[in-house]
Symmetry: C2
Subunit: 103 residues, 2 copies
DNA sequence: TTTAGTAGTCATAAAAAAGTGACTTATTGG
DNA sequence: CCAATAAGTCACTTTTTTATGACTACTAAA
């Protein structure tokens, strides 16, 4: 039997952790765009108006670090990079989609 | 027929909005505690170690402003105040609970 | 009316996050 | 080798969030 005990003082709960990982000025928007498909750096820069290279760069790196996004280098005409949701990140899609339909 | 169109450039999507509302150093934790029941100010101050009055005060006010928490003054022995999830806030509980069981 | 307990605010300081503009790296195609 | 394009980094500034410590407001009970 799996005992379901309350979360202790400082054991971070997974839901709380995910909220923190998506915390920030641009991460929610980046995540929304990621749910819609792959992301290129410059494409994001254009889509997310108000954001800038540095900020975006940092946000993407952090989302990568916590394992929500993965970076793929595409060696084509003009080489570019795409960011995708990881398998882990994809598990959040249904929640995100359902949140859409709340209010 | 309800046409389901893609989210335009700057129409904020609800899920994105909710993530932003819960963004910050302490809001995810406050929200987690709120899911578990009511919250008193000093009780929070004790539970959330690292946080302080001012910061907590601001976070609670903001959560109140976006309509996730509501404040109730209890005129008893030592008067105190409780914060509860609003009806609106409660609609998020199932999502939060499910997130728990992900990873 | 004084005191104790709770829940704050205020002015200010420190720390963290975001923004700027110039510069760098990597790759492909000519 | 050279130019063009994409994706950054770097040093630094500005803005936003958090933190500190002292102080205030409200209520109930003594």
């Amino acid at each position: 039997m799996t005992t379901k005990r309350a979360m202790g003082k400082n054991e971070t709960c997974p839901a709380q952790a995910i909220l923190k990982q998506l915390s920030g000025k641009w991460k929610p928007e980046i995540f929304r765009l990621a749910v819609d498909g792959s992301l290129r750096f410059n494409s994001l820069l254009r889509q997310i108006e108000g954001a800038n290279r540095q900020t975006l760069s940092v946000a993407l790196r952090e989302l990568e670090e916590v394992g929500l996004l993965q970076k793929v280098v595409i060696k084509e005409k003009p080489l570019h990079i795409e960011y995708y949701l990881t398998e882990n990140g994809k598990t959040l899609i249904p929640f995100f989609k359902q949140l859409e339909n709340l209010k």
